[in-house]
Amino acid sequence: MSILSITNLRLRRGDREILRGVNASIEPGELVALMGLSGGGKTTVLRCVAALETFEDGDIDVGGVMLRPGPQPPRATIRELRTRVGMVFQLHYLFEHLPVMENVTLAPTNVAHVPRADAEKRALELLETLGVAHRRNALPRELSGGEAQRVAIARAMAMEPPLLLMDEPTASLDPARRGELGETLVQLTASGRTLVVTTHDDDFARDFATRVIILAEGEVVEEGDPRQVLTHPQHEATRRLLQSARKAANG
């Protein structure tokens, strides 16, 4: 029984066909790296799963919650979906007007109606696990990129979604930080969570992902064990992806 199943997902914006029939099935406990060149549709897939985009064709099944083509899904569907899917944005989008602690407790207290004291206790645990507890009174603008990212993860984790989507978490990190992030994500999957992470970083995928899915021009072109796929690429798009990653690393 997969936790996320995407079938023939198509999405068009104006004349541009962004997704041309994406298929993917993800099992509980996986850490999936979604890779591809910029403009390949990685982020769009995540946004569709989080119901931030509507799509033209296909369907998305998040553990029984079905997203279908057409206008915004009904409110009840959205409410159900939110309990199952969390999202960490590339630019974090921490609530600028709230300190770190309140960023993390906002949803538990207002959506899950957890008492404030309990929510703060849980938030502190999360922030400690992620190594940013000492920043709990800081405002988002005072955080470094890495700190902001870990707060964003804590904020999403506070609602305990079984499936967590992360958009380009490695983009703003230096290699040492990237390793720390990978360890953290592996720990999260160890506790039963499922992660889908978009990334440009093939080393990161090789070291931490259980599976890699390569997306090119709106289609899945290759998928499988990261070591296998990224060491012996079968598809032209995968080779180009690796070249460009190498260039970026050397340059």
Partner: protein, 488 residues
Amino acid sequence: MRRVVLLLLLFASAANAQQPVFRWGGDAEGGAPFVEADPNDPSKLRGFDVEVAEQIAKGLGKRPEFVQVSFSDIDQSVQRGDFEIGMSGVEDTPARRRMLAATIPYFEFHEVLTMRAEDQGKFSTLAALRGHRVGTLGGTIAYEKLLSAEKTDGVIVVSYDDDVHPYADLRSGRLDAVLLDNIIAVRSMRRVPGLWTEPKPVATGHYIGVLATGNTALRDRVNEILRARMRDGTLEKIYRKWSIWDAYQPAFFASVLNEQSAKKAVESGAATKQIDVVLRYVPALLRASLITIVLSCAAMALAVFVGVFIASGRVYGSAPVRALLTIYVEVVRGTPVLLQLFVLYYGLSSVIRLPAFIAALLGLGLNYAAYESEIYRGALEAVPRGQLEAARTLGLTESQVLRLVRGPQAFRIALAPMTNDFVALLKDSSLVSVITVIELTKQTSIFAANIGSWVVPGILCAALYLVLSLPLSRLAGRLEDRWRAATE
């Protein structure tokens, strides 16, 4: 041929161009019988003041030329030299005699009480009006008289900028009596039906001409001319023509020609020192500032409250709701607030008779709500989309997103323009004097009219406005700094 042209030219210039001009100032809005546009030829003026001015010009061997000036500005205008003499129902007051060169009085009038016909005999004195609302024209002897009656007899004084609305408000029940010159009372009773004027006068006053302080030589010549026209019956003829000659005038003329009374008035006027007058007005100014600040704060609170609803409706509402709110905003922003105040207070008075303060509060508040709503709408739309998406993915409902994320962030963006608006509102609150609310600016102009100078009242008034607005700007500045630090 050439000769004829020359002759014509000579004739024309002798009759017109070469005859020196005598400029006199007055307010044609004051209307008959003082000064009004001739209904048959609106380019010409008529009225007893017009004819008295013509007599003076004739006596000086000059051609009269009328200069229009608003009634309350006559004193200031003659002092700065806009015309030689100001005269259209200008009252003889100690302040005028102190500040300007005043002529001898040329007409005696009486302050009389007008009431609704059904109240005939009920309010024959000011003392009988305890606890009742009495209206008059601000900055006049009648107003001063009412102010002292406010203390001694407990009447409630309502001041107007003109002498037409008091009688309309009397008829509609907003007032219980009007105290004004008998000439105005007679005229108004002709216009407004169902009124009755108590014949026994409350006070006596005189009309004079005023000239700039240094212009005593001309003043003395004008006095001679006025006396001569009193003696030879010309003034009586003019007054009879305008039906304002009454039993009081002969005795009054006699006393003026005696020349004693005018001197006395000058002396008694000079007796009160200016500093005493200023001090006498300070409590009134402070009271007026209180009205200004209470009115501004309440109107701003209303504007913020209504503005938030309009902005939310325009961002989140359905198409018809958005259209309705857009119309409201455009109509309110596209018409003068002065007009809106008039409509609320006078226009709606047949449907709902709002008290002046409430009408002022509603007028300013609803007007500013339109501006506030535009600020909030802009601020709501300026909150980055990512902030909203992050909130949605956490499971917040749309109303929670607005209340917990979008609203608070928009408020920080809106704060600077809001402060601006509040300071503007504080100053715009001076407009409500047109619907009889006496706030700081109105009180200042009454003050200035009574002491005959804007210098001290103007400085005091400006200082009070600054005292009100500066702390506000500083508070907002501090909040802004804190929030800017929090969001940059």
